[in-house]
Amino acid sequence: MQERPFSDVSFEKYLDEDKLMGSRCRQCGVLYVPPRPICTRCHATDMTWEKVAVEGRLRAFTCIAVGPPFMTAQGFNRDNPYCTGVVELAEGTRLDARIEGVDAKNPAAITVGQPLRARFVHHADAPRKTTLVFQPC
């Protein structure tokens, strides 16, 4: 089977298959999630796919009261804010992702560093067909 290109499209297709995949540089060993075709540390293009565990820790977050149109269409607004953040995966790489299972109306109770686990959420109508949504574990 021919290897998929190390692209955003491949990343999203893997997500559709419930897999979080990154690219690891065979030259210097750095892991990239989402994948990159060119290693930004050593500039090599010798990459290999690697499956990444969907668990990590919250590194930064925000609770948004005024969201973009696709979020307001999902019912989020000033009275129903949503949380999104930056999650550091076990391998040390980071992802931007929605955070659920926390009280976005009470952000003081959400803590940087808390452990999270993700699930794959499939959408019929969104900018992306599948997104990773993290929640406390």
């Binding site: 989402p34 590194r59 925000t62 609770c63 804010p81 931007d96 940087v112 992306r128």
Partner: protein, 442 residues
């Protein structure tokens, strides 16, 4: 011979180690002076379009040239604009503005670096003169944002986030909100420290006739109390400015911990500057302000940063600018920095080296960045209060530095007698493009 003459042989694997890098100090090919500057008032102007605003800036610039100048001497225009394509459905602003002010058929180039668009125009203008190609160049920027709804403006600005951020539901306030949580977690700062920045910006803005919000936080509180008194409703219980800012009814959350008063407004405006070769500056003024140093850097999205408490692009821009100028952060007497959100000002004053990482909020609390402090920051009122017509902002920051250096800042003039060096820091996107420019009075 294994190695070329003058090159060190490889000391071991990896292409970057093979040849010792020659570190060249960056220099302008020749000096560049700012001899005129102007900006429109910033605000929401339903009766004015981008052309009207640019004319205002251009007319003030023309009047500001001490010995006068002939507009026919302008050889080229560099113009920053970010999102007029989206906001007013008109692109290709270079020739439109060139025609407006009578420059056609001379060349006009539009630069785009999100909210740093006109700092890039300034930079291209400087390089065009430093290269020896032109002697007299006009640089500027414009943006017309207020004719769209807040949601549409947010959508337009979000074109400059990185794709993964947008998909996760991040907005611009959201990105800076996340940065704030990382900073709070690492250094123990809190929302109260950000309020010091907001209160300071609102103290400076009423002293700036061009500012969008000419009211202190105290003025705003007093007006609300007076309104309640007239209506006969319960008087708000705020004992001080921070109590007002902590009140979610007065200062609602936008993207926690960013609240309304942490965020810059939607604005219309334009700005421009006349740049000339330093060796002919005496034709225009006896008090030239020269470009001592300038730098630019680029950065990545949130997810690709291992630490969210600084902007790599700002640090790069600062290193480059200090290197060109032969100066350090201690030599910069005051600065305009890109406070699109309160937390951003905190990061910038650390990234530019004014305060150590994690110490900026203490310095702000101690008053160091006030108009009469040891390092005045955003004497104009900053993006927060002066306004942020994104494509016009970079050159408007340099306008403020130029105005302070020439002692024409009126009531907001920094109260020291030997002002000679100031800086302007402009940021685009979520830190993707940053610039730092140092101006010096000769």
């Amino acid at each position: 011979m294994a190695a070329a003459v003058g090159l060190r042989p490889a000391s071991g694997g990896g292409c970057s180690k093979g040849v010792e890098k020659v570190k060249k100090r960056k220099r302008l090919g020749r000096g560049v002076a700012v001899v005129g500057a102007g900006m429109s008032a910033f605000g929401m102007f339903p009766e004015k379009n981008s052309k009207d605003l640019f004319v205002e800036a251009f007319q003030e610039m023309t009047a500001s040239v001490d010995k006068g100048f002939d507009p026919r001497d302008i050889e080229a225009l560099y113009l920053g604009n970010f999102t007029n394509d989206f906001f007013v459905h008109q692109a290709h602003w270079g020739p439109i503005i060139a025609d407006l002010i009578g420059l056609v058929p001379k060349p006009a180039t539009r630069t785009e670096g999100a909210c740093a668009s006109s700092a890039l125009a300034f930079r291209e203008g400087v390089f065009a003169i430093a290269s020896g190609f032109y002697d007299v160049v006009l640089v500027g920027g414009l943006e017309e944002m207020s004719k769209r709804t807040t949601e549409a403006v947010a959508e337009g600005l979000a074109l400059a986030t990185v794709p993964y951020e947008g998909q996760a539901g991040f907005t611009f306030p959201g990105v800076f909100g996340a940065v704030a949580t990382a900073y709070f977690d690492k250094y123990g700062a809190s929302r109260d420290h950000l309020m010091d920045i907001t209160i300071k910006s609102h103290r400076n803005a009423p002293l700036n006739p061009k500012a969008q919000f000419k009211a202190t936080i105290r003025d705003i509180m007093d007006a609300k109390v007076e309104k309640a008194r007239q209506k006969g409703t319960a008087l708000p219980p705020w004992e001080d400015e921070k109590a007002f800012l902590r009140d979610p009814r007065a200062n609602p959350v936008v993207a926690w911990p960013m609240h309304l008063y942490d965020c810059c407004p939607i604005s219309d405006g334009a700005s421009c500057m006349l740049l000339v070769a330093e060796d002919i500056a005496a034709r225009f003024t006896d008090e030239p302000v020269v470009v001592a140093g300038l730098g630019q850097g680029s950065g990545r999205g949130l997810h690709a940063c291992s630490d969210l408490t600084y902007f790599e692009a700002t640090r790069q821009a600062a290193r480059e600018a200090y290197d060109v100028a032969g100066l350090g952060p201690e030599d910069i007497q005051f600065a305009e920095v890109h406070d699109c959100f309160s937390i951003a000002e905190l990061l910038h004053i650390e990234d530019l080296g004014f305060f150590k990482p994690g110490r900026g909020f203490h310095a702000v609390a101690e008053g160091a960045t006030r108009l009469n402090g040891i390092k005045p920051i955003n004497t104009s009122g900053g993006l927060k209060c002066k306004g942020h017509p994104v494509g016009a902002t970079g050159v408007s920051q340099l306008y403020e530095v130029w105005t302070q250096l020439r002692y024409t800042a009126g009531k907001r003039q920094i109260p020291i007698g030997d002002l000679h060096t100031g800086g302007a820091h402009n940021l685009g996107g979520t830190g993707g493009t940053c610039t730092f420019t140092i101006l010096e009075r000769k």
